[in-house]
């Protein structure tokens, strides 16, 4: 093993080394425990980092420096927030459903963490390689809707209930185009195994799925759905401040609120990770020359880009309205995703170059047509011309 490979496989080697202290019977279980703890540790600290990045990044977008007084460059801000959340009084409304109110954050954070088990973080670095990784990701992710419902309904608050209903409707609607976007990749790689999918994209960025016509569209669809699934702006309707106070989080205080917050970020990073795996070559380096950089650094680098993109979009865009959000999912993304599957099929079966023009033309037509249709629900769109009174 060369040094480069050693660094590349460092997490795995560390795990093996730690496991070797245990009797053979326990070894697989200890390995699992270590993987689980590592995932939680890494992504929980990434959560802290990304909250800080978000606050500072939003600050920069808004021409201000953001937190910079707590610790060096404000780096300890998340820690201070964490301590504060921990000691904050925990309020359960008297009329709330106490069991559901308590269970909701836990029931939300467990699936948010479980989905990480199928994400290949680096070469050979995957907690659980299984044949149906992609399906597992979506299957487990689907249960977060129930947790949000528990939170909203359990709070016995009107804003919470409205927020959670919105959240469920939004999440189920966007789940469909997301799954269908993933289906294109399954179609192309004939596999649901995340490791296989990543390996199918080896060789350089031109081999990534994002650089095919169907892949680009699927990535875009997937990304929009990722924004919606993790309730991030411009799809943050469930906790729309200006309408519903804080949506399903309205009645949560103390660390339970922090858990929701954490689940949101964990979900955001998990979905980004899945997008990277499916479309952007996972842990693969964009150029073969760059292979000396450890694979997991590529993964986290790409993840960081996604987080930055999330923050950037959050800092720029206003929020959609609930019905527009639904229209976008059902009347734009879903047909596009269905069409895209067909194009991916064509791509796989045809010899390549001929699929390009067909795909581009068809997709272009579909996008423009559906866009027109979507816009048609408003009385008048487009640029307006203003007159002046005499």
């Amino acid at each position: 093993m060369t040094l480069v490979e050693r660094i590349d496989q460092a997490p795995l080697l560390l795990q093996r080394w730690a496991v070797s202290f245990f009797p053979a019977l326990l070894q697989p279980w200890v390995a699992m425990l270590i993987s689980a703890a590592a995932i939680i540790g890494v992504f929980a600290s990434l959560f802290a980092l990304s909250t800080l990045a978000e606050r500072k990044g939003l600050g920069r977008i808004q021409n201000r420096p953001g937190p910079n007084r707590v610790g060096p460059f404000g780096m300890l801000q998340p820690l201070a927030d964490g301590i504060k959340m921990l000691i904050k009084e925990d309020i359960v409304p008297l009329r709330a459903d106490k069991v559901l109110h308590f269970l909701a954050p836990i029931a939300l954070i467990v699936p948010s963490l479980l989905v990480y088990s199928v994400l290949p973080i680096g070469r050979n670095l995957i907690a659980m390689q299984c044949q149906l990784g992609v399906l597992l990701f979506f299957a487990i992710g689907a249960s977060t809707e129930l947790s949000i419902f528990m939170a909203g309904w359990g709070s016995h608050n009107k804003y919470s209930l409205l927020g959670s209903i919105r959240a469920i409707a939004q999440m189920i609607s966007y789940e469909l185009p997301m799954v269908l976007a993933a289906v294109t990749v399954i179609l192309a790689t004939s596999s649901l195994d995340t490791v296989n999918i990543v390996e199918a994209q080896a060789g350089g960025f031109w081999a990534w799925h994002a650089f095919t016509p169907w892949g680009a569209i699927a990535l875009l669809t997937f990304f929009i759905c990722a924004l919606a699934e993790s309730n991030r702006a411009p799809f943050d309707l469930p906790e729309a401040e200006s309408e519903l106070i804080a949506g399903h989080l309205t009645e949560y205080s103390g660390f339970k609120y922090a858990l929701f917050f954490m689940a949101e970020y964990l979900g955001m990073m998990a979905i980004s990770g899945m997008a990277i795996t499916l479309f952007l070559g996972g842990w693969q380096a964009p150029l073969p020359i760059l292979n000396f950089i450890p694979s997991w650094m590529w993964f986290f680098g790409k993840l960081a880009c996604f987080v930055v993109l999330f923050i950037w979009i959050r800092g720029t865009l206003p929020r959609l309205r609930a019905d527009q959000l639904m229209n976008l999912a059902w009347k734009f993304l879903l047909p596009i995703a269905l069409l895209n599957i067909g194009l991916a099929g064509l791509w796989v079966k045809s010899s390549g170059w001929i699929a390009w023009p067909i795909s581009v033309i068809l997709l272009g037509l579909a996008i423009v047509g559906l866009g027109r249709l979507l816009r048609g629900s408003r009385p008048r769109g487009g640029k307006r011309i203003y007159r002046y009174a005499d």
């Binding site: 600050g59 300890l76 201070a80 000691i87 309020i91 106070i245 804080a246 309205t250």
Partner: protein, 208 residues
């Protein structure tokens, strides 16, 4: 500093470094993460917003997270005139904030009714119903004055003890966590003030 204070500190010293570290950590965390309730009443609210904007940027102190729900807020900035019609809501919002919680009375109106003191619908100071930690005079105070008040509050938080006799009221089990919400009367609030929180000062003016 009174003798009792000295004694508590001595007690604390004796009870071990762990507690003081814990206390430091506790106060450090709280004082650097003061999330205000997104709550504006009148003119001062605009300066409060200005304080969170790029020129003054309250985010540098970790306080830009203006939470719309009282459940996640630590600080209530009473920014502007509290009218009698609004006072019950203010008190209720304060009650609904989880402990530990703080109040900054920003501007003359919030402190005493200010220029509108003579009005029949104006509450003459929010401290009639809820305890105020920091008063910021001004009409409206500059955004820097709010930042100054916030730093004052952070200082106050840092000086709070975790144990001992003079620990803050939210650490005491014998002090209630909420304050009675006044009700609308025929022409004034009932009661007009909460005597448990507020006693008018004795007239001490010479020559009168």
């Amino acid at each position: 500093m009174t003798e009792a204070d000295e004694k508590t500190i001595q007690d604390l010293r004796r009870s071990g470094i762990l507690l003081t570290t814990l206390e430091d950590l506790y106060n450090w965390g709280r004082s650097n993460s003061v999330w205000p309730l997104q709550f504006g009443l009148a003119c001062c609210a605009i300066e409060m917003i200005a304080a969170s904007m790029s020129r003054f940027d309250i985010a540098r102190f970790g306080s830009e997270v203006f939470r719309p729900s009282p459940r996640q807020a630590d600080l209530m900035i009473v920014s502007g005139t509290v009218t009698k019609k609004m006072a019950p809501q203010v008190v209720r919002l304060y009650n609904q904030m989880p402990e530990p919680k703080y109040v900054i009375a920003m501007g003359a109106c919030a402190i005493s009714g200010g220029p509108f003191k003579q009005g029949y619908n104006v509450l003459k100071g929010i401290d009639r119903y809820i305890p105020v930690d920091v008063h910021i005079p001004g009409c409206p105070p500059r955004p820097e004055a709010l930042l100054n008040g916030l730093m004052e509050l952070q200082e106050k938080i840092r000086e709070q003890n975790l144990t001992g006799e003079n620990r803050p009221h939210h650490l005491r089990s014998d002090v209630s966590g909420e304050f009675p919400v006044p009700e609308f009367g025929a022409c004034d609030l009932e009661p007009p003030s909460n005597p448990a929180v507020w006693t008018p000062p004795e007239p001490i003016r010479e020559g009168l």
